[in-house]
């Protein structure tokens, strides 16, 4: 029971389409796991199941040892989740939104004020607290979503594309934030940006068509490229493991 986040053989089908086909993972404290993969590979679906939003067709997810499907409310107390696109209630101000989230997290009074102040400070939202969320730029909205996710200092953080829509300075800042928080937490981030793997992740998995096709550190992944064991760029390795194998390697069939 060392892993804070455990996924066991998760499967999710939508009608006849299998979005996630048997994904198993263990993420211990101190690890920042990067989820890579082409669009539609099943990254977000996997994260939604890990967060307990989608119910898997088979398999299970555990957060701090608690089954997400069996005891969802208990499991979610240790979870901070940034959904894809960082949705938030647009008509609310940042302050009101974070206060609402704090109340749902059973934080009140001084405790809530401290938690909000800390999250606002970390995500640099101090200047826009009274602004309605719908009037803000994409980058700010993303940071509001992040603030909400880290509000209660959760043991497990699942962040779906946390740096999407941020400018380079903001990206740098968010990566710094993730690194700072990683020491005693399990963090999973999904990303399209391969440089992010080097910048923040201690480990990465590549998902393609619902299954894990590569798993390891950035250095491990580089060896999977076309260079036959020699290190290639992450991008080459990514393309090599996710290109439809049937076309390239089955010419003799």
């Amino acid at each position: 029971m060392s892993a804070l986040l455990e996924l066991n053989n998760l499967v999710k089908r939508f009608q006849s389409f299998t979005a996630v086909n048997g994904i198993s993972l263990e993420v211990p404290a101190g690890e920042v796991l990067g989820f890579l993969g082409p669009n539609g590979a099943g990254k977000s679906t996997t994260m939604k199941m890990a967060a307990g939003f989608l119910t898997p067709d088979s398999g299970s997810a555990h957060i701090c040892g608690v089954d997400v499907a069996a005891q969802p409310e208990l499991a979610r107390q240790n979870l901070g989740y940034l959904p894809e696109g960082a949705p938030a209630y647009g008509e609310m101000s940042v302050a009101a939104f974070l206060k609402f989230c704090a109340r749902l997290r059973d934080l009140s009074g001084a405790e809530a004020r401290e938690a909000i102040a800390r999250a606002v400070d970390r995500t640099e939202l101090g200047g826009v607290l009274e602004q309605p969320i719908e009037t803000m730029s994409k980058g700010f909205k993303r940071r509001v979503g992040l603030a909400q996710a880290i509000l209660h200092e959760p043991k497990v953080l699942i962040l779906d594309e946390p740096t999407d829509g941020l400018d380079p300075n903001q990206k740098h800042h968010v990566r710094q934030l993730i690194r700072d928080m990683s020491s005693d937490r399990a963090i999973v981030i999904s990303t399209h940006i391969l440089e992010e793997v080097d910048a923040v992740c201690t480990r990465a998995v590549i998902i393609d068509r619902g299954t894990i096709v590569a798993d390891g550190t950035a250095a491990d992944l580089r060896k999977l490229g076309p260079g036959k064991g020699k290190a290639s760029s992450l991008e080459e390795a990514f393309r090599h493991v996710t290109v439809p194998v049937t076309m390239e390697e089955k010419p003799h069939v």
């Binding site: 307990g52 119910t55 208990l74 989740y81 696109g85 949705p87 209630y89 109340r103 749902l104 059973d106």
Partner: protein, 244 residues
């Protein structure tokens, strides 16, 4: 409980953060006055009571209440905030109850805006204020049922317009199931017992008693069971829809 309250407050202030609330309140009060004075002929009747108002209220509710309930879940689904809400340590039923209570509170505010009507009849004569108070309670209970139906319809779709049309249609079925037109049609094809069953589901059957100041057991049972049923159905719809 504190989570239900948090959701309740967010939802209620959400109404007042948008122009919908004010448009609704103005239209609701204006149409109420129209029905009371012009169609209900309050002055010509020469009786100091609010029967003209409460007689037409179910029809007003039929159209206007779904406008209040349509956003409850559709908006969450359209904007994706449902994913945020449902990954918080909140259960589906807590969210369903909190949102529904907020919509009920909003209709209570709308009804409170018509209190000048009540004052008017007291100025004109001496109405039975007990009957009027019970009528207001009955109106709120009726709205609660419509809102529970509307919340279920809202949970079925991410499109508010569809949620509105579905809720009006469902409401219409429950309003008209007590009218002679529907009951006579039922009697031609089914035994009297079935017709009585259909009538007992009707809004009007129970509401009429309340507007005469009568709180009877069947009416209370109807309000509670209809509300509970539709809120439970909402919970199922939310669960089912998020399961993808």
């Amino acid at each position: 409980m504190s989570r239900i309250m948090a959701i309740f407050q967010r939802e209620l202030s959400g109404y007042f953060n948008t122009p919908i609330a004010y448009v609704f309140l103005i239209i609701f009060v204006m149409l109420g006055g129209l029905f009371t004075f012009y169609i209900g002929n309050l002055y010509e009747r020469g009786v100091a009571d609010l029967v003209p108002y409460f007689t037409y209220l179910p029809w007003l509710f039929l159209i206007l209440v779904p406008a209040i309930s349509m956003r409850l879940w559709s908006e969450e689904r359209r904007s994706g905030t449902i994913e945020l809400l449902m990954t918080m340590p909140v259960s589906v039923w807590q969210a369903v109850i909190g949102k529904w209570l907020a919509s009920v509170a909003f209709v209570a505010v709308a009804l409170a805006c018509t209190i000048p009507l009540w004052l008017t009849v007291n100025y004109l004569g001496s109405p039975d204020n007990g009957v009027i108070a019970v009528s207001y309670l009955g109106a709120l209970a009726l709205a609660s049922v419509f809102l529970a139906i509307g919340s279920c319809m809202s949970a079925l779709t991410s499109n508010q317009v569809i949620a509105f049309v579905l809720a009006v249609s469902a409401g219409f079925v429950f309003v008209t199931s007590g009218t002679p037109v529907v009951l006579d049609a039922v009697r031609t094809v089914a035994p009297e017992a079935i017709a009585a069953g259909v009538a007992s589901l009707s809004v009007l059957t129970h509401y009429d008693g309340l507007t005469r100041g009568l709180i009877d057991v069947p009416a209370v049972v109807w309000v509670i069971s209809m509300t509970a049923f539709w809120l439970f159905a909402t919970t199922l719809a939310v669960e089912f829809k998020k399961a993808g």
